[in-house]
């Protein structure tokens, strides 16, 4: 045999340069590579050189890992099943030659246990195969196996989905235990896409996943919470800390002004119904309304979920057509797997606390304040005698302490999963109970779920899932002028919670601005929501001929809710209510969807793979509501309608059907795993549009190039994956309401019986909102997957936005229940552009110690490009609150919903300052021809006074008026980020999650109430003690003459007390706009898996215990409770309005996971 000596000079030079000598330990991780590549790597890492004939190693590919292993060990593993032998010579030359054929003499029995290197849990179902043979087995539930192999030379290969394969030469061993390392690069992982699944490596669109593992690393009430900070481009904000409260999720910014901006949720292939379920507030009972949206997703048990995929760009989501403009969230729930049944029990107990209190005046401060303002108002008689010496007073009632509490929550879940060869099942049950940190609020949930799948014929698979969920919520009224929080802040500290007789106390005198005892409100004013829901789907999947499959799937969602709001009789001091009243709403909704899919797979000329799919989809939903209001209930305790007075009965009902029909198709093309293309086209028809525009068409196309699979990349060993993606898609958004295009008649009660009037002005030409999105992305995986990096750039253009026309009120109004409302129109264009980065680094990947870092970064720039008219402005405000009717503006050239108002310029310091400044309140007596603006009226009651706020005259015309307003803040953040570190050290795991938002502004409306100083009977923030006050220049002079007054406390920025606020200190201005930048340590979890030797004795496979802290600490300058505000009732134009938002609690939990 003639040997060709190949001397790798270059290799040895490199080795010498690196100073590594022979006998060194090798480190690498190769999967399915040519043998030559391994040799090169060894030559890189050591000074061995190889001698071989090319034919010997040609076309042979092996998988091998080396971790500080010697060359002999590595080579024997690497070459064992390649029929190659090697000899190491003294001069570090390795001679390679074909293996001589051997005879198998006798079998050797090898047993062992396979564990996950991550958490030492046993791995059932691992394939154990004697390399090069058909001889194999799988591990049992405890990870044990037993195999008879040919002999010492035999190599056993261990492989398992999601883990790196491992091969071990038997040698002298009879017991081989293996810790399998998780495959950190999940290229072969199958991901769920719209109407199907795909290998991650084949994706052409922008799809991000949250794995079960990530989901488990936080304790979430609702699944959407678990997404916070985890996915680039997805902004998650909790709108309320109320248990079961709604969240705002924005995928790549808001694309609709008045329509929904929440993504479409698809659970196991079926679109999830019920965006933003509403509950009654208390506006019907003589109160105000706070935020009244609850979270529809809170009916889902987060433990049932194994995976969440977010389709971010339109090329990925366009398959959902008219519902996909805000992105699509695909949720996959637990399924069974073949093998012995696995029983798991998961539980946690959590303590929730109030993270922050606002600094309000205590009783001595309040008494002093009262004494001073009564003195200012010449009403010293009205001051309580007790206030004469504030130093004798105790601290009074701390109403915040009274309404906030430490609250517990607990969760229990049992699941059984398993399966036979052709049949699998999963059964789960869960119970969750959370008390809110505000007294009288809480949330409970019970769910049950069954998932069955069977391969009933070779060609036919059927299956289905059914879920039952029940939730009970007690909701306190918040985010409004008469919410519990606002009342707790404003309630006078001199009033006790209860009188001596045990009854709830209240103020002595009633005025329009009287405050209601917040403890009583929270506890006796009841608003409960009970929801019950059954949803699921069944499918049959048949392979009609080879490569042609037909799937038909039927989904159902049936839900009922009962919302009971009870307004009791009460007496709080001088405030009484003698008539109790109750409103009950019963809602029923039913939804069905039928999806048919035809899939054809075609492979030709070996390298061309084509998948063609055709779909039809039909869906219909029906919704009904009955609402009854009654008065004069026999007792405040029994909240059943029969107890009310029948003559006071007001009954209402609603019913609304809607239907949709769609045809669509998808074509996937893959050439040699290098060039990928996906095209979709969807046609959607909806009953929600008039005959002119019933159908909408939504195309998309995307291309991907797997650069790393090109031959020129073969030698670039540090790049494991490199993929460039390009995508375009068109998606739509349609309204929640039906019959927006037409005008129906609204019914009202009148003296002359039922009266009818036009609900709104019709617009039969109404059509879909359309969003076009361009996306370019790059996926990169470097250094054997230790660094994963994805970057996406997108440009999202929305047009024909569905808006209720904005017009002067003499044309009509926005509220069909009180106005002959304005029509809906398709107007304008909006743009969202942004960058998303996500970086995962596996800093340390030892089998004992793992450290992984995830970083996500999202930057979105939103801009309204065009509205129906160039100068058109769409305003949004706060209900009826004075001065806050125009809070945000949406107009061309600016981001959606920016804050608009006046700019403050300090306080007036003396009379001359007032007279010299632009006119805020005109003194008509000073108007002359030369000076048509006149001067400011200096008057304590009816004009400007020392200590009032000076506003900036932006246009310099000498008058402060509407023209002096400008954009004073933007609630959209500059960027948001998430930063997660997780550590595994043997059985210990630690994960720290940080989230943050930079540059969003907040309208702190609470401060209007607690620093506004217009009411004589409301407590105020402690900052008010330093409000502007005056003192006389000449103590002998007139104490009421403004010329004789100066600032008593120069330097303060808190304006004066003023009951009528004629100067409008409380107008919408930058005074109430604050920077909402924050960085929050959102989640810390520390877990420990008990050694299996201990648990085995109790017949338990695995026990994991953990402690978790959430909302640990927030770094922010924001003065309110919590800088994470969200959007009021999910409205994109009412973002970051803090109106006494229910703060998100700080949560400490202790949990336990047990697998049997």
């Amino acid at each position: 045999m003639k040997l060709i000596v190949v001397l790798m000079i270059l290799g040895s030079l490199q080795v010498q340069a690196a100073g590594i000598t022979g006998g060194s330990k090798l480190n690498f991780n190769f999967k399915d590579v040519s043998i030559e590549e391994i040799f090169k790597e060894i030559e890189n890492q050591s000074d061995y050189r190889f001698l071989y004939r090319n034919e010997t190693i040609e076309n042979k590919r092996v998988t091998v890992n080396a971790k500080n292993d010697g060359i002999e060990e590595v080579l024997s593993r690497a070459l064992a099943d390649a029929d190659i032998e090697f000899t190491i010579l003294e001069n570090n030359l390795v001679v390679i030659k074909p293996a001589a054929k051997k005879l198998v003499l006798q079998g050797v029995t090898v047993t062992g246990k396979i564990l996950s290197a991550t958490d030492n849990s046993p791995l059932p179902g691992v394939n154990v195969v004697e390399k090069g043979t058909q001889n194999g087995t799988v591990t049992d539930l405890d990870g044990n196996y037993s195999i008879i192999v040919a002999g010492k030379e035999s190599v056993i290969a261990f492989s398992f989905v999601g883990f790196l394969s491992e091969e071990i030469v038997v040698g002298d061993q009879t017991t081989i235990d293996v810790n399998l390392t998780e495959d950190i690069l999940e290229l072969d992982q199958v991901v769920v896409i719209g109407y199907g699944t795909m290998k991650r490596s084949d994706l052409t669109g922008s799809v991000a996943s949250v794995s079960e593992e990530t989901l488990r690393s936080t304790v979430a009430t609702n699944i959407d919470q678990a997404l916070q900070g985890r996915i680039a481009g997805v902004q998650v904000m909790q709108n309320s800390g109320q248990p079961g409260g709604a969240l705002t999720i924005r995928i790549r910014g808001a694309s609709s002004i008045t329509g929904s901006n929440e993504p479409l949720y698809v659970i196991d292939g079926i679109p999830f119904q019920g965006q933003g379920t509403e509950v009654s507030g208390f506006d019907w009972a003589g109160g105000a309304n706070g935020q009244n949206r609850v979270n529809p997703l809170s009916t889902i048990n987060p433990n049932d979920i194994v995976n969440i995929e977010v389709l971010k760009d339109a090329s990925a989501s366009a398959i959902y057509g008219s519902q996909a403009a805000n992105g699509v969230v695909l949720i996959t729930t637990k399924k069974g797997e073949a093998g012995t049944a696995k029983v798991s029990y998961n539980t946690f107990f959590a303590l929730q606390t109030m993270p922050k209190k606002l600094d309000m005046m205590d009783l001595p401060e309040y008494a002093e304040y009262q004494t001073q303002i009564m003195d200012e108002l010449n009403r010293t008689n009205d001051v309580s005698d007790r206030y004469l010496d504030p130093s004798l007073l105790g601290p009074g009632t701390d109403w915040q302490d009274e309404v906030f509490r430490n609250a517990w929550s607990q969760s229990h879940q049992i699941s059984v999963t398993g399966g036979l060869e052709k049949f699998d099942y999963a059964v789960t049950g869960s119970y969750y109970d959370q008390d809110g940190i505000i007294i009288g609020s809480g949330f409970k949930r019970v769910t049950g779920r069954l998932n069955l799948n069977g391969q009933i014929r070779d060609w036919l698979r059927v299956g289905g899932v059914i879920t039952y969920a029940k939730t009970n919520e007690v909701i306190t009224l918040n985010d409004g002028g008469d919410g519990v929080i606002m009342n707790a802040l404003k309630m006078q500290p001199d009033i006790p919670v209860r009188n001596m007789d045990g009854e709830y106390a209240g103020p002595d005198v009633t005025y329009a601005g009287s405050n209601y005892n917040p403890v009583a409100l929270a506890l006796i004013r009841n608003n409960t929501l009970n929801r019950e829901r059954v949803f699921g789907n069944v499918y049959a999947n048949a392979e009609i001929i080879k490569n042609l499959t037909f799937k038909t799937e039927l989904g159902l969602d049936n839900s009922n809710l009962i919302n009971v709001a009870f307004h009791p009789t009460y007496q709080f001091g001088a405030i009484t209510n003698d008539v109790n009243k109750m409103k009950q709403r019963n809602e029923h909704s039913f939804f069905w969807i039928w999806i048919n899919t035809l899939t054809y797979d075609l492979t030709f000329a070996e390298k061309h793979n084509l998948t063609i799919q055709l779909f039809s989809e039909t869906q219909k939903s029906l919704w009904e509501r009955v609402e009854v209001t009654k008065e004069n209930f026999a007792s405040n305790e029994i909240h059943v309608l029969s107890q009310g007075d029948n003559t006071t009965n007001i009954t209402n009902g609603w019913k609304d059907p809607s239907s949709k029909m769609s045809y669509f198709g998808r074509l996937n093309y893959n050439y040699d795993d290098r060039y990928l293309a996906t095209f979709t086209l969807r046609a959607d028809g909806s009953s929600k549009f008039g005959p002119e525009n019933k159908w909408g068409y939504f195309p998309s196309g995307s291309l991907a190039w797997r650069i790393s699979n090109e031959s020129f990349m073969e030698n670039v060993s540090f790049v494991r994956n490199l993929k460039l993606r390009l995508g375009y898609g068109m998606v739509g958004n349609h309204p929640n309401e039906s019959y927006l295009y037409g005008s129906s008649l609204t019914q009202t009660d009148s003296e002359f019986g039922t009266a009818y009037r036009m609900e709104k002005i019709a617009n039969p030409e109404l059509k879909w909102e359309t969003t076009e999105m361009y996306n370019i992305g790059l996926d990169m995986s470097l250094i054997q997957g230790k660094i994963d990096f994805t970057v996406d750039l997108y440009n999202k253009q929305t047009k024909d936005m569905l808006l209720r026309l904005s017009a002067p009120t003499y044309i009509g109004g926005p509220n069909p229940w009180e106005d002959v409302a304005l029509p809906y129109v398709n107007v304008g264009k909006m743009e969202n552009k942004g960058i998303e980065l996500s970086l995962t680094t596996h800093n340390i990947t030892k089998s004992k110690f793992n450290w992984r870092t995830d970083l996500t970064f999202s930057l979105n720039r939103n801009k309204v490009k065009e509205l129906d008219e160039e100068t058109k402005i769409y305003w949004e405000g706060l209900y009826w609150y004075s001065e806050f009717q125009n809070v945000t503006m949406t107009t061309a050239g600016k981001p959606i919903g920016v804050y608009y108002g006046y700019v403050t310029d300090g306080l007036f310091t003396d009379q001359q300052d007032i007279l010299d400044s632009p006119v805020q309140v005109q003194d008509p007596a000073t108007v002359t021809e030369e000076n048509p603006n006149g001067l400011n009226l200096v008057d304590y009651n009816t004009g400007v006074w020392i200590g009032d706020i000076k506003f900036r005259d932006l246009n310099g015309d000498g008058v402060i008026n509407t023209d002096d307003r400008t954009v004073i803040g933007n609630p959209n953040p500059d960027f948001t980020y998430g930063f997660n570190n997780s550590f595994n050290y043997g059985p210990l795991e630690l994960s720290i999650n940080i989230i943050g938002s930079y540059g969003a502004d907040i309208l702190n409306y609470s401060r209007v109430e607690i620093e506004g100083m217009t009411s004589l009977w409301s407590n105020q923030a402690a900052t008010v003690t330093n409000r502007a006050r005056t003192t006389t220049i000449d103590p002998a002079g007139d104490p009421d003459d403004p010329a004789n007054l100066i600032f008593a406390n120069p330097g303060t920025d808190m304006p004066r007390f003023s009951t009528n606020d004629v100067n409008r200190n409380n107008r919408m201005s930058d005074r109430f706009i604050e920077d909402g930048t924050y960085l929050r340590i959102q989640n810390i979890i520390l877990g420990y898996t008990l050694p299996s030797e201990w648990t085995r004795k109790l017949f338990i496979d695995r026990v994991r215990i953990y402690i978790n802290a959430q909302n640990v600490y927030t770094f922010t300058k924001y003065s309110g409770y919590d800088p994470e505000i969200g959007a009021f009732n999910q409205d994109a134009r009412r973002q970051n309005f803090d109106m006494g938002r229910y703060p998100s609690p700080r949560i400490f939990s202790f949990g336990l996971d047990v697998d049997f």
Binding site: A512, D656, E751, P808, Y810, E883, S1015
Partner: protein, 554 residues
């Protein structure tokens, strides 16, 4: 496998069949859904009953926001009858309201809401209705709607002066011509006049539903309109307008068959809604928020007399108290003060007696009723608790007692004022007769001659807390700008009482001393005579910053 093949073929047949049914069977009809829970406009207005149920919407609900606070803040507080000084509401009392005031904005929006309800009938109904019913029926309904629109515009004109005239919102939307300028006050008057002429012409002669509009409502209102126009004495037509006002007023008084209610206080009982004196009133019912009269809740002094009660700080000004003549029977129905007894309130405890202060029996250091600065509380339109009025009061600011916008006594006094005309005094017998009928009912001595101030002060008391006084001030102002401003500045609305601690029993007059500067005096300027257009409206429509233009009538 062979067995399976047969099985499979059969199954495939079913599946394919199903698929075909699924894909093709769902035809276009599937997407044709109209609302199931409400009527659609194009299928309505087919019968007279349906048309009448359309106009029924004009009498209550759309007026709520206007009536809820703005009407009495501007009509009673701003004019100096009602004392209430707090917060943004107090801005009306001080005439220092700013354009961001939400009550101001509610008043504007509320009145234009009434206009839009009326316009919706005026513009949308005939198109559909004329296919099914006679023109006469259509015109009768139009007359109702045009009367209501005229009333809303009359109020707009008196508070704001110059406002845009809107006849057809839909058309403005379709033609994208929504930014309207302000129209001159004379245009607005002309617009109202045309609406009322149409109403007088076409209104149903046989109206049988009490509370609906009759020709007398329209004639009464047109009399008031002419009187208002006439008071601009510089107008060459002034004299003619006085005559027209007088003629229309006389027509109503003599021919309508309506009579004054014999007892003044009966006018405000809920059971007397739409009585023999009522010409037009907001028709309130107890059917939840925005269907009822919210004054009971906003004005009631304490929980002893009402279920919702925010009237603790409200009362009649000292200025008003001084204008009420001794022995005036109306006084007790307007405001309540020391010693007044009201058997109709708090019936459960045998009636209600007014004290300045009532200590809490459980906790005597607290008062359950306290005195306010003016030592009285409001009575008119306060009808008590649910139990006092057979459940006609809800807890959602929804009492069922109507609020007058025009009653016969008004027409009587219009006649008197029109008779006086531009002159300083009148002794016209008929005028004196009508005038003294009002005084007689009030238990006061008749007058033998009338000056403008005689009528002005009589009106002030007669319609106190009916929010009409601002309109009287406005007519005074049109008649003589300087005098009217001087009058307002001479009002002593800033007077109040403070406790004299030397007298132990608070429930005596001696325990309280009148302070002439309980709050600082209020200065009224000519610019206060017209309200500013709400800031939010100016923001949307900058044309409002420009001068008013005349309306082009078709």
């Amino acid at each position: 496998m062979n067995v399976n093949m047969k099985d499979m073929k059969r199954t495939i047949k079913y599946i394919v069949l199903l698929a075909i049914v699924g894909i093709l069977g769902a035809c276009e009809d599937f997407l044709e859904l109209t609302p199931e829970d409400r009527l659609v406009a194009d299928e309505y207005y087919r019968t007279e009953t349906e048309i009448r149920s359309g106009t029924a919407s004009l009498y209550g609900y759309p007026w709520f926001n206007f009536n809820d606070k703005f009407f009495w803040l501007a009509g009673d507080c701003m004019s100096g009858n009602m004392f209430y000084t707090y917060d943004q509401e107090g801005q009306f009392f001080y005439l220092s309201f700013n354009a961001g005031n939400s009550y101001l904005s509610n008043g504007w929006k509320g009145l234009f809401r009434v206009v839009s309800y009326a316009n919706s009938i005026i513009n949308d109904m005939p198109r559909i209705a004329l296919e099914n019913v006679s023109e006469e029926i259509v015109n009768q309904a139009l007359a109702e709607a045009r009367f209501v629109r005229a009333m809303a515009y009359y109020i707009l004109a008196e508070f704001w002066g110059e406002v845009p005239i809107v006849e057809n919102s839909t058309e403005l939307v379709v033609t994208n011509d929504m930014m309207l300028p302000k129209n001159t006050r004379s245009s607005v008057y002309e617009f109202i006049r045309r609406d009322l002429e149409f109403a007088i012409e076409n209104i149903r002669p046989d109206e049988s539903e009490p509370g609906r509009i009759t020709q007398w409502s329209a004639k009464g209102l047109i009399a008031k309109l002419y009187l208002t126009m006439a008071q601009d004495l510089t107008d060459p037509n002034s004299g003619q307008y006085f005559d027209l006002a007088k003629q229309y007023a006389q027509d109503v008084i003599e021919n309508s068959g309506l009579t004054l209610m014999p007892v003044y206080s009966d006018l405000f009982k809920v059971e007397n809604d739409n009585n023999s004196e009522s010409l037009f009133a907001m028709q309130w019912i107890k059917a939840g928020y925005a269907t009822g009269n919210s004054r009971n809740a906003n004005w009631a002094r304490s929980s002893i007399i009402a279920d919702q009660q925010w009237g603790g700080g409200k009362g009649c000004t000292v200025d008003f108290q001084l204008v009420v003549e001794p022995g005036d029977l109306r006084r007790k129905e307007i405001y309540m003060t020391l010693g007044d007894e009201y058997p109709e309130l708090n019936k459960e405890d045998g009636g209600y007696t007014y004290y300045f202060e009532v200590p809490d029996p459980v906790n005597p250091t607290n008062n359950i009723e306290s005195a306010n600065e003016v030592l009285n509380h409001l009575k008119k339109y306060v009808i008590g608790k649910s139990a006092d009025v057979n459940g006609q009061v809800g807890i959602d600011q929804d009492a069922a007692n109507n609020v007058y916008l025009l009653r016969l006594a008004d027409v009587y006094l219009i006649y008197a004022e029109a008779s006086l005309g531009a002159g300083p005094e009148t002794t016209d017998e008929t005028a004196l007769g009508y005038f003294n009928a009002i005084r007689e009912r009030a238990g006061l001595d008749p007058k033998t001659s009338l000056t403008f101030m005689d009528i002005f002060n009589e009106r002030r008391v007669e319609f106190a807390l009916e929010s009409m006084f601002w309109f009287d001030i406005k007519r005074f102002y049109y008649r003589d700008n300087n005098e009217a401003i001087a009058y307002l500045n001479s009002q002593v609305r800033h007077y109040g009482f403070s406790r004299n601690d030397e007298v132990e029993d608070p429930n005596t007059w001696e325990a309280w001393e009148l302070e002439t500067e309980a709050i600082s005096p209020i200065v009224v300027y000519e610019s206060d005579m017209f309200l500013p257009i709400p800031e939010a409206e100016v923001i949307i429509n900058p044309l409002f910053l420009e001068d008013a233009v005349d309306y082009e009538f078709e």
